[in-house]
């Protein structure tokens, strides 16, 4: 399946609808990154949410920056915190 990569802020209700979820692949990631199925319905949704186009590499870099920051923050936490919360893991965009 082919994808497009964008950033867009989820404003809440009707940011994506049931109908849209059935028309194209959609998955959200840290940094307001969205992976969108590459079809005409997906394109219409990107326009609706004023999505900013990214290459896959750019989108992955946004996610990686946030994950790495979270790892550093986790490493500085107490042992009690670490016992209850697993260390953030890498996220690989499809």
């Amino acid at each position: 399946m082919a994808y497009k990569y964008i950033t867009a802020t989820n404003w809440g209700k009707d940011f994506f609808t049931h109908e849209e979820r059935k028309q194209f692949y959609l998955s959200g990631y840290p940094g307001d990154v969205w992976v969108v199925g590459d079809n005409s319905d997906g394109d219409a949704w990107i326009e609706k949410v004023s999505g900013v186009s990214k290459t896959k590499e750019q989108a992955q870099a946004i996610v990686d920056t946030i994950v790495e920051s979270a790892k550093v923050a986790w490493d500085l936490e107490s042992d009690d915190y670490k016992a209850l919360n697993s260390r953030p893991t890498d996220i690989i965009l499809p």
């Binding site: 989820n10 404003w11 809440g12 209700k13 009707d14 940011f15 994506f16 609808t17 049931h18 849209e20 979820r21 059935k22 959609l26 998955s27 959200g28 990631y29 840290p30 946030i66 994950v67 979270a70 790892k71 923050a73 986790w74 919360n85 697993s86 953030p88 893991t89 996220i91």
Partner: protein, 338 residues
């Protein structure tokens, strides 16, 4: 010869629009605009999907949830720290209302409606102290009710009405550290009583339903011991397809429910529906999350209508995002001769 009229009491009708009410299930009709013969069957989770709902005013994990996708109530949780914040949902937006009155806590048990809900037990995140405090919400404010028997957190709950709900399992303080709990306690509107225990103690489970027919203990820290409740005792049921804990859950009964999100790890967006005999994968959430609503509270709307509220998204941030699950009550099918 058996005829349609003989079975249904009337001939095949000609309709200009597809039926939309459950009473039409089983009906065969001629759809004149499309010149096709159609029939109506039960819908359900396989035709469902998640859409975006209004964002919470305060991002947090592990609050309690009651109500429906058009009249929801999300209370307590962890921002961090634990909070007493309560928000009401009208199907479009969340509005902050009066706080809970007892000590701020999260991972509590909750059920009921937007105007008549219960919150029980939980943990105060800043101290780790487990609670047996209980409160009821009347649509305007919270007030204390009789405490439940055992202080605990992070189990699951079921209840459609304020005066009949159960809290199940979780983590208690009876042993060294945090011990898994197997207790079922029933609230009848005025007092708590103990019912039969889970077969296997556990915590961080998903579930929902009513006090007489529920799914609880789905997933959690005991992956092979999902159980269903018939009002008297717990029975082991089939495992879900994707193991996860700290997911959300909702059920209409012990034969109809869904689980969503959670953490394997990794945090997942996967949703599965239960039909009384097996689990099926259905449409994923748009944003994977764990520790949202339902992970520690019960919803009675599943599997056709569910709120997924707040929680924690990778790589560890609290979220204010809401997703609404809806699935059609009925499915319109076209008769094919091929």
């Amino acid at each position: 010869m058996t005829t349609y009229k003989g079975i249904k009491g009337f001939t095949v009708q000609t309709l200009t629009s597809d039926p939309s009410t459950p009473s039409a299930i089983g009906q065969v009709y001629y759809h004149s605009p499309s010149n096709t013969l159609k029939y109506v069957s039960e819908g359900g989770a396989p035709g469902g999907s998640w859409s975006s709902g209004g964002n919470l005013n305060t991002a947090r994990t592990t609050g309690g949830l009651a109500g429906s996708i058009t009249a929801g109530l999300y209370f307590g949780g962890n921002t961090p720290p634990s909070t007493q914040i309560t928000e009401e949902y009208n199907g479009t937006a969340w509005s902050e209302v009066n706080n809970m009155t007892e000590t701020a806590r999260d991972q509590m048990y909750g059920w009921g409606t937007q105007t008549a809900a219960i919150s029980a037990a939980g943990v105060t995140g800043s101290t780790g102290g487990k609670s047996k405090l209980a409160e009821e919400y009347d649509g305007t404010s919270w007030s204390a009710i009789t405490e439940n028997t055992t202080a605990r957190q992070a189990g699951c709950s079921a209840g459609k009405v304020q005066t009949a709900g159960i809290i199940i399992g979780g983590k208690d303080s009876t042993g060294p550290g945090n011990s898994d709990n197997n207790m079922t306690e029933f609230w009848n509107g005025s007092a708590w009583s103990e019912l039969n225990n889970l077969n296997t103690a556990g915590a961080y489970m998903a579930g929902g339903g009513s006090s007489t027919s529920a799914l609880c203990g789905v997933g959690g820290n005991r992956p092979a011991q999902n159980e269903s409740w018939n009002g008297t005792c717990w029975s082991e049921i089939a495992e879900q397809n994707t193991f996860r804990d700290q997911g959300g859950g909702a059920a209409d009964s012990n034969t109809a429910g869904i689980i969503y999100g959670g953490e394997g790890p990794p945090v997942t967006a996967k949703t599965e529906s239960w039909d009384g005999s097996s689990w099926s994968e259905v449409a994923d959430m748009a944003t994977a999350r764990s520790m949202g609503s339902g992970g520690t509270g019960g919803q009675s709307g599943g599997p056709t209508s569910v709120l997924g509220v707040g929680g924690q998204i990778a790589p560890g941030a609290r979220t204010n995002l809401t997703e609404e699950w809806t699935a059609p009550v009925l499915k319109v099918n076209t008769v094919s001769t091929s």
